[in-house]
C-alpha cells in the first residue's frame, strides 16, 4: 500500500516553475541548435493507478539517474508522472536500454503490452528534434501535459491491490503509536449504520439471474471518517490487517442481530483467520445455530498464506459445521501466479479491473482461463464489476457469479420488476 504522504515530488518548492514549463524554456533556448538532439516521452501517466504511486516513480527516476550522470541528457519529471528525456549526441542504444529497463519494470501493466518501438507503442514516443515537424509535435505533447497539471493533481486514485484496503487515501500514515487510540474508538463508535450490503448474482444456464448471496461489509472510508479522519489507515498492510481483527468483532456484533430464520439468500462476511478461532465468532456461531448454510465466510488470501495450517484448520471446521468458505483478495494478475484449486475453498473471488480490459484473447487471459478451468464449476465470483463489459469478460471465461456496481443496478432493476 502506498505511503502517499511521502510524495514523489517531496522537497519540491510548490512555487517553483513546473518541470513542464522548464522543459518548454529549454526547448525555446535550444531552438537554433537542434542538430543531434532528440526527445523521448515516457507516458507513465497512462499506467494503472497502482503503478503510478510515488514509490514506483521514485524507482523509475533512479533507473534513469544513471543516464543523467554519464550522458548529455536532461530529465524532466512531469506532474502527471510522465517523464521526458532530452538527449544530445547520445547513442540511441544507450537511451533505448534505459527506457527498456523501465518498461520491463512495468511488464504487468497493459501499457507495455504493445510491442516496443512499434507504431502502436503506447509506453514511449520518440521525437527527432532536428526535424521541425517533430519539434512541433513534441511541444504540443508537453503543452498538453502542462494543461493537465492541475487536473491530475486533484484526481483521486483508486489502486488495484489485493485485499480490502483498496482505496488510496489521504492523511498521515498509520504508525503503531496511533493504534491503541484508534482501536479504542473502534470499540466505542456506532458501526451498525456503516455496514452495507452488496448482492452477488449467479447467471444460470438460461441466462437468468438469481441472487447468490449478499456480502455484508463495513465501508472503510466511512469508518475512517468516524474513527480517524486524519489518518491513512491503509498506509501499512500489516497495521491495517491488525486493525481489521477488531473490526471483525464489531461487524459480527451487527450480523448477530440478523434473523437467520427469515433470509432469502445467504450472507457473506470478510473475517480474519484469527477471528474465526476467537470468542466473538463463537458467540456469533451460537446465534446462527442450525442456519450455518446461510453464512459464507470470506478469508483474505494473505491471511491464508501467512498460516496455511491455521487456514486448513479453520476451513475444515467451518465446512464441517455447514459454513461456506470463500477466498477473497485475488485479482486476475494473482491468478497467473498461483493456483487456488488446492485451497479447497467453496468459492474463489476475483476482482475485475482495468488490467484485463485487453479482451479475452490475450496471453494473460488464456492463463486465467486455465486456472478457472481447474476450479469446480460455478465456484468463481467476479467482483467489482462496474460495467457490462466485466460480465461478458467473465462469462467468456466460464465465470457465472458476479458482484459490483453494475450488478447492484441489475438487482435493483430486477427488484422493481418483482423478479427477485
Amino acid at each position: 500500500m502506498a505511503d502517499f504522504s511521502a510524495g514523489y515530488s517531496e522537497g519540491h518548492d510548490q512555487n517553483a516553475p513546473s518541470q513542464e514549463k522548464r522543459l518548454l524554456d529549454v526547448l525555446g533556448r535550444m531552438r537554433n541548435n537542434m542538430a543531434g538532439v532528440y526527445a523521448v516521452h515516457l507516458h507513465l501517466s497512462d499506467l494503472r493507478p497502482s503503478h503510478r504511486q510515488p514509490h514506483f516513480l521514485r524507482m523509475v527516476a533512479r533507473s534513469l539517474d544513471s543516464l543523467a550522470a554519464t550522458q548529455d541528457i536532461q530529465i524532466f519529471n512531469f506532474t502527471n508522472s510522465d517523464v521526458a528525456l532530452i538527449c544530445r549526441n547520445t547513442p540511441v542504444d544507450e537511451v533505448d536500454d534505459a527506457v527498456f529497463r523501465v518498461r520491463a519494470m512495468f511488464n504487468e501493466d497493459p501499457l507495455t503490452m504493445s510491442e516496443d518501438g512499434s507504431t502502436e507503442d503506447r509506453f514511449s514516443s520518440w521525437y527527432d528534434l532536428s526535424q521541425a515537424a517533430d519539434i512541433k509535435d513534441f511541444m504540443e505533447a508537453v503543452t498538453e501535459a502542462l494543461k493537465h497539471r492541475e487536473e491530475v493533481k486533484n484526481q483521486t486514485t483508486e489502486s488495484m491491490t489485493t485485499g480490502r484496503a483498496s482505496k488510496v487515501m489521504s492523511g498521515a500514515p498509520l504508525t503503531p503509536d496511533m493504534l491503541q487510540g484508534i482501536i479504542q474508538r473502534l470499540l466505542e463508535v456506532r458501526v451498525g449504520d456503516l455496514v452495507h450490503r452488496q448482492p452477488a448474482v449467479v447467471v444460470t444456464a438460461g441466462r437468468k439471474q438469481e441472487l447468490a448471496f449478499r456480502e455484508h461489509f463495513i465501508s472503510m472510508e466511512e469508518l475512517r471518517q468516524r474513527i480517524a479522519a486524519e489518518v491513512n489507515i491503509f498506509s501499512s498492510h500489516w497495521l491495517f490487517q491488525f486493525l481489521s481483527q477488531t473490526i471483525d468483532g464489531r461487524v459480527l456484533e451487527v450480523l448477530s442481530r440478523l434473523d437467520f430464520n427469515d433470509m432469502d439468500a445467504p450472507i457473506s462476511v470478510n473475517l480474519n483467520l484469527s477471528t474465526i478461532m476467537s470468542r466473538p465468532f463463537q458467540n456469533f456461531h451460537a446465534l446462527v445455530g442450525e442456519h450455518t448454510e446461510k453464512v459464507i465466510v470470506e478469508i483474505q488470501i494473505i491471511d491464508v498464506f501467512s498460516d496455511m495450517s491455521a487456514y486448513a484448520f479453520a476451513r475444515d471446521w467451518l465446512q464441517s459445521q455447514g459454513y461456506t468458505v470463500l477466498i477473497d483478495g485475488l485479482n486476475p494478475l494473482t491468478l497467473c501466479f498461483f493456483d487456488p484449486s488446492s485451497l479447497a475453498a467453496d468459492y474463489i473471488k476475483i476482482t475485475w479491473g482495468p488490467e484485463v480490459s485487453g479482451g479475452v484473447g490475450t496471453e494473460q487471459t488464456r492463463q486465467i482461463r486455465d486456472v478457472i478451468g481447474k476450479l469446480p464449476d460455478g465456484s468463481v465470483v467476479l467482483s467489482r464489476v462496474d460495467s457490462e463489459e466485466g460480465v461478458s469478460w467473465g462469462l467468456g471465461l466460464g465465470i457465472r457469479c458476479f458482484q459490483g456496481y453494475f450488478i447492484d443496478k441489475v438487482v435493483a432493476a430486477m427488484a422493481s420488476k418483482g423478479i427477485l
Binding site: M1, A6, R48, S50, H51, H55, F56, R58, M59, R62, S63, R101, A104, M105, F106, N107, E108, M160, T161, T162, G163, T175, P176, D177, L179, Q180, I183, S236, H237, W238, L239, Q241, F242, Q245, M277, Q282, I301, I302, F305, S306, D307, M308, S309, A310, A312, F313, D316, W317, S320, Q321, L333, T334, C336, F337, F338, D339, P340, S342, L343
Partner: protein, 428 residues
C-alpha cells in the same frame, strides 16, 4: 510429523509411537530442564469427532511448533496426541491447544463446565514429573492400553508460572517502543549467519552462500525482555520492516561488519521500494550487488504482487539475485515459481514431505525439475533424513542446524588433518 528413527536403521520392525515416545523421553533424561508436555485426550471424545480429518486438523495445528524445532509430536494408538516441547513455547502451545479444543467444541465432553479442561487436556512438567511420565508411557507402550487422565494438579501452577515467565504479547504500544528502540540499538552482536551448502555423498558441505539474519530470540532478550514478539503476526511483520532497515545499514557499514563470500538476507518488498534501500544501493559497488541474494517471503509477495514484480525487475536488473523464501509442503505446488521470476526458491524441510508419500515426492521433484537443480534450497534441515530426502528428489543445496553441524565436523576433520600432516612432517 511423527518422529522417525534415523540413528538406528537396523531395527527392521516399525516401532509404535508409544515406543518412540518412550525412547524420546529416555533421551531427555539428562536434558529435561525447561521441557513440558501436553496430552490431548482425543480418545475421550465422541466417536463421531474422532475421524481422520479431525485428527489431521488437530495434529496439523502443531506443525508450526514442530517446524520451529519447539517440540516433538506423537500420535498414540488410541488417537491421543502427545506433545513434548520447550517451555519457552508454552504460550504458543496453549494457543494451539485452545484451537484444538475449539475444533471439538460441539462434543458433549464440553457441555459440563469445568469438567472439560481436566478430561480433554493434561499438562505435564517433564523436569519435575519425569519419573511419573516415564512410568505412564512405559505402561502405554507395553500393553498398548492407555491410562486414563493422569492429571497432576501441580501443572496448573506450572503453566501459570510459565505464562508469567513468558510475559506479555506484542501490543501496539510495545511495537511502537520497539520500533523506536531499534533505531538506537546496535544490532552487530545479534547478527547470525547460516550457510547454504552443497553436500557431497560423504556428507562434506560445500558453502554456496550464507544467510545473514538477526536472531529474534536474542533481539527480544536485548530490547524487550518478557515480550513475545511473534505473538501477533501482523505487528511482527511491521516490526520486520524496521528490522530490514537496520540490517541494510549494518551491511553498508563494511568497516564494522565484514562478511566474506556471497550473502543473502531477508527483506520486505516495501523495504526494496524505500529511500533506505536506494541509499544502500547507492553505497555499494556493482560487484557487491552481484554477490547478494534478497530473500522475500511469499506472504509479502502476494500482499502486493504488482509491487513485487516491479521491485524484482528493478533489483535483478541491478544485479541482485532474488530468493522466494518460506515455501512449505502445503503450498509449494500452488505457486507458479517460473512466472514469479525468482533465482532461488527455499522449501522448508518437514517430515511431512516423507509422510506425504509418492505424490509429495513427485510434487517436489517436479518443482526441482521446473526450477532447476541449482535453484532449490531445502532449509531447516535438522537431521540427516532431510538431506537424504532432498538428494532423492534432486535438491543440491541445504541449510539448517544439521548443515551447521556438518560444517563444524568438517572443520574439525581439517584441523586434525593439519595436525597429522604437521606431525608427519616433524617426524620425517
Amino acid at each position: 510429523m511423527a518422529v522417525r528413527s534415523t540413528s538406528t536403521p537396523t531395527h527392521m520392525h516399525r516401532r509404535t509411537q508409544e515406543q518412540l515416545l518412550l525412547e524420546y523421553l529416555r533421551r531427555l533424561e539428562n536434558r529435561r530442564e525447561g521441557r513440558k508436555a501436553v496430552r490431548i485426550n482425543i480418545s475421550s471424545l465422541m466417536p463421531g469427532n474422532r475421524r481422520e480429518h479431525h485428527i489431521r486438523a488437530a495434529t496439523n495445528s502443531f506443525e508450526a511448533l514442530v517446524s520451529d524445532l519447539m517440540g516433538q509430536l506423537f500420535e498414540l494408538k488410541n488417537l491421543d496426541i502427545f506433545f513434548i516441547y520447550k517451555s519457552e513455547a508454552h504460550t504458543r502451545v496453549e494457543d494451539t491447544v485452545q484451537k484444538v479444543k475449539f475444533l471439538f467444541s460441539d462434543d458433549p465432553l464440553f457441555d459440563e463446565k469445568g469438567r472439560s479442561e481436566d478430561e480433554f487436556v493434561s499438562w505435564y512438567d517433564v523436569e519435575t514429573g519425569y519419573d511419573e511420565l516415564i512410568k505412564m508411557v512405559r505402561d502405554m507402550s507395553e500393553d498398548g492400553r492407555t491410562e486414563k487422565r493422569p492429571v497432576t494438579r501441580s501443572n496448573v501452577r506450572a503453566s501459570l508460572k510459565a505464562r508469567q515467565d513468558h510475559g506479555d504479547p506484542l501490543s501496539p504500544e510495545v511495537l511502537s517502543r520497539a520500533v523506536k528502540a531499534l533505531q538506537r540499538t546496535d544490532l552487530t552482536s545479534l547478527v547470525r549467519r547460516q550457510f547454504i551448502c552443497g553436500v557431497s555423498k560423504k556428507l562434506v558441505p560445500e558453502p554456496v552462500f550464507s544467510e545473514i539474519y538477526i536472531s529474534i530470540m536474542d533481539l527480544r532478550e536485548t530490547m524487550m525482555p518478557g515480550i513475545n514478539l511473534t505473538s501477533n503476526r501482523w505487528l511482527f511483520q511491521y516490526l520486520t520492516e524496521s528490522l530490514d532497515k537496520r540490517v541494510l545499514s549494518l551491511l553498508s557499514k563494511t568497516d564494522r561488519f565484514s562478511i566474506t563470500g556471497d550473502i543473502s538476507f531477508n527483506v520486505n518488498v516495501s523495504t526494496l521500494m524505500s529511500p533506505e534501500f536506494m541509499a544502500f544501493d547507492d553505497g555499494i559497488s556493482a560487484a557487491r550487488r552481484g554477490s547478494m541474494v534478497l530473500e522475500l517471503q511469499k506472504i509479502d509477495i502476494f500482499a502486493d504482487l504488482g509491487a513485487f514484480l516491479f521491485a524484482r525487475e528493478f533489483c535483478q536488473e541491478k544485479g541482485y539475485r532474488i530468493c522466494l523464501d518460506g515455501l512449505t509442503y502445503q503450498n509449494m505446488s500452488m505457486i507458479n515459481r517460473e512466472r514469479l521470476g525468482v533465482d532461488y526458491v527455499k522449501v522448508m524441510w518437514n517430515p511431512e514431505l516423507v509422510d506425504g508419500g509418492a505424490q509429495m515426492r513427485k510434487n517436489l521433484r517436479d518443482l526441482v525439475q521446473e526450477a532447476g537443480r541449482t535453484r532449490v534450497i531445502l532449509a531447516r534441515c535438522d537431521n540427516r533424513e532431510a538431506v537424504d530426502f532432498g538428494g532423492s528428489v534432486g535438491i543440491t543445496m541445504f541449510q539448517g542446524h544439521y548443515i551447521e553441524h556438518l560444517i563444524a565436523e568438517d572443520d574439525r576433520r581439517r584441523q586434525l588433518l593439519k595436525i597429522k600432516h604437521r606431525i608427519e612432517r616433524d617426524t620425517t
